[in-house]
Point group: D2
Chain length 323, copies 4
């Protein structure tokens, strides 16, 4: 936590310092996902040694975190609504037989930010700009004309590195409001005997989700206070040239934010529109954490494809750690 | 195409012959996905040699196949509706600034069967039964209490084999109504110098989707006549012990069906509820086909996670062939 | 409250006693709405004397009652989701100008039972039957093939009578669990100097909704304990030959129910499928109550059209009392 | 049809001429609905003479007009999706019995502009302004903060006047592109022996909808060429001081529009944001037309409540003509 509250001027300076606009051409729409190269994918596949697949997704249902209470204003997100268009009870009742087949169909209504998810590069704006300097008016009610999540459809594959910060710090879970520093990330990597490299997908545990699951209530989780990345980790992310970062919290960065009043989620102001960093949120890491404790291997092949919904600013995902 | 139309008695015999109920225990809910073993996943990862990721998903949007005309009754499926909950135009207009962050959110309304998709084991019933002998009344308006797609959340990873049937037969695309036989599949594999093995994910090209895309109209695609698997391929699937099968058509099997009146999609009657075979439909294989022609390698690591929507009978997916 | 809990046998006897099946022909789909005759509508219009329109609808939004806590299992209903398809911020941003018009559009996702609503005759079944003896399998995932709410599209017009029960009993609101009796209804009518007649639309106040609104929380309202009609009011309803009845609670009848375990909402078992009685729920009556106190007139023209959604088992409505 | 195409300058002049901003106070949100006074409602009720209720709504279902072809770009509107949350087939299958009641629930997903509908005053903007001079940025993805349709919840009641223009002109239906003039409206009223007065709800028939229904296809209807109001009818509307106007077409005004390129729906530019005129579209008037021919009475009590969806820019409605 910085000794003083961050100001708009601090954000402005960070924006200048970490700006990757133009780095991958004027028409790039995927930002730091470009860091992962073909040989990194080949190397990542070599990490598959025991043939174990670990899902980092929460199930998508009414038990999800949306709608729980927090002290901040709600965002209007709901848990997924799953509806049946045809059922086994229809089948049993004989009402499908005129079709010559007994089959069920279903439907979902869901905010793309409601569960385990990627934040695409159309999700956050810096002033009137989105990633790579595109005009924010490219994201209209018709969707994102630039940086739609569908542009990432053959990305989200690479080396995954898991950083279990609370474990490295000797805790079960970090406290709400705890700002994870670059130093914490380095210490954790070192304790786990793993090195973060260019093009990696970094998954960071805070333990907050597991604490909520254990408590049987999501209250405080969606938009609430949380442990998370300090603003100063921007430097760490920038230096490491990682492809993407994900965490087990609602919004990755520490809350309450380190900013003066009127600035919400300052780290997001920089990561997405300025750096072009895709982010994962609400990742379920308990199973991965347990497995890593057992085999002491904190790197793996990471495959977490977005559903290519055209013009979407994010996507639900079922991220897989393959070890 | 068999010399005579298939009857209910033929289906009954097939059901007895290919029934895998109980094979993986009385409480199994994932069927043939069990065929893929840990060592198969390790071996699949070894197929990643050039670090290329090829998506097999159509984008999910209003240009999808639903709503196009066919001569059969419509199923009520629509293309995905993507809606914005906050936009860049809101940001530009200054109406988000009271939140201290300029960010966009979005939402989707979509039938889970509307695009590139997995058919889960709750999707089709045989009489009053679903996979493994579960009562079809386990699939109610509250969803699938058994065999929900979320049960597969750490599956859909293994060796992928691509069978480009029209290419092997010297054609661009198979004709509507062409019934792909076991012999066709074997010939194709042989021509491509690839062997299908236990636990594989088999992706079969008919060329129909590419023909529709080239024509600029999906008319005839959703539920319409199509090339696809002959009923007799059940034997091939059964013998090979594959994990799953997918194709580029709306419904995998040949249409018009090989059955007498009143039996619709007979192959589905057996694959899903009797064999426990998960199926992929509406897979976009044009890019993969091109790549395979170029490198002559028809096997790859296949990762196609379902979105674990609790109780769903299917899921959109962004299947990745990683070579 | 009866001296003993109602049993299934009591329900069976009531079903025999109050059954209106066939009364309006074997193909009738609107039940007691038939009681209102043309001359009743003419007479109802004569009640319009001061030209005042009072809406009995809650607004449909995120402040609605769904999602609030109750001690009973939730029904899966949500408050309406209202989404914009084009906005004034789009207009301001100039992104609509290529269309030659600056216009906003919007969309709603809502359970038809989420707010001020009519329960149609497809909403509740008695054993395997719906109103008029139709098979309950006429209500499939494709909707209600019989008794869809669209069948009422030119009904819901007649004389309205408002019964302010708590006021007649000298209270602001009835207590949760208070069972309104036929005698209470008669006393209220008498105190208000109004007579309930054949074909009337009867709107009954309990005061519960106003109490929840005053408390600033809907907790306990959706599906919770409530004042409401005693099972024995079936006789009153039957004798009066009213067209429909509505109240300001979630479900009209008293909760906890007057039944032994395993029977939920016994009054509904009879009213809808047996009598063919359309019911209104979650009616907002505070403004009407106030007006009636002022002018001492408890009868009015009542117009509350359902939105004719084909095959729906209910409909949101904006009921109007026109005085 | 004017002798020359209307220009932006013509619109600007019309905006100055017909501007009602401030007429009902600086905080008014309902515009010309204010014209109807209490005594008008009393008088309207006196028009109920035979007790007949005629619905002016199309049913809301998959047979609605959205999705049909037109030569103009689509607006992204769909027909209503009706989904069941519980069914009679569930009931029959016994899976509801643990609840102690057999009941069905349902849900709708629908654009508020998809069928018989009111266009609220947040629907169209003139430059950066909405009705009464409000900033168009009051209509965000969070809905209309000003002029939401819920503000009309106790309006939409008054005298209805039906103008059967094609009948007065000796035709079954007006041709696409036919511009209804003020003179046509006056002639029709005169032929029908009816006078349009301040505060009236005017419903105008073109016959286009009936022609589409007879043809069995909506092609050309949604957004397509149509008969409708000439721009010059603004003067007629302004002089008559009517409360609202409705028609049986998709968009009330004549198409192709009478404007030069780049100006779409010019009449809407003035009616909604400048005059504050609420408009009804996609009204089904065939039954009303027939009844009026029979009894030669073209005035009636009109009750067409909007569903008060907070912040909505329109609403489905089931408008009733009560004669």
């Amino acid at each position: 936590m910085p000794s003083r509250k961050l100001t708009r001027d601090d954000l402005r300076q960070a924006a200048e310092k970490y700006k990757n606009w133009g780095k991958w051409g004027a028409d790039d729409e995927i930002g730091t996902l470009n860091y992962t190269q073909a040989r990194d994918i080949v190397a990542a596949a070599q990490l598959v040694k025991k043939g174990k697949v670990i899902s980092l997704a929460l199930n998508f249902d009414q038990h999800g975190p949306q709608g729980a209470k927090s002290k901040y204003p709600a965002m209007g997100r709901i848990n997924p609504l799953h509806m049946m268009l045809r059922t086994g009870t229809d089948a049993y009742s004989g009402v499908l037989d005129h079709r010559g087949i007994r089959a069920a169909d279903d439907m979902v209504v869901m905010p793309l930010q409601c569960g385990t998810q990627w934040d695409g590069l159309g999700h956050v704006f810096y002033e009137n700009f989105m990633w790579n300097g595109y005009d924010c008016r490219q994201v209209t009610t018709s969707g994102a004309q630039k940086c739609g999540i569908e542009k990432t459809k053959d990305k989200m594959v690479g080396r995954g590195v898991f950083l279990d910060v609370p474990r490295a710090l000797g805790k079960n879970a970090l406290d709400d409001g705890y700002a994870i520093t670059s130093d914490d990330l380095d210490k954790t990597a070192k304790a786990q005997n793993v090195t973060v490299k260019r093009g990696d997908y970094v998954v960071v545990r805070t333990g907050q989700m597991e604490a909520k699951l254990a408590a049987g209530s999501w209250d405080g989780y969606p938009g609430g206070d949380a442990p998370g990345f300090s603003f100063e980790t921007l430097q760490w992310i920038h230096d490491r040239q990682i492809a993407a970062i994900a965490s087990d919290t609602w919004g990755c960065e520490v809350r309450p934010n380190e900013t003066e009043a009127g600035i919400n989620q300052p780290w997001h102001w920089i990561t997405i529109p300025i750096m072009g960093l895709t982010m994962g949120e609400i990742f379920y890491v308990a199973d991965l954490a347990k497995d890593c404790v057992e085999d002491r291997v904190y790197e793996f092949m990471f495959v977490a494809p977005a559903i290519p919904i055209t013009g979407a600013v994010g996507s639900p995902t079922n991220p897989l750690a393959i070890k």
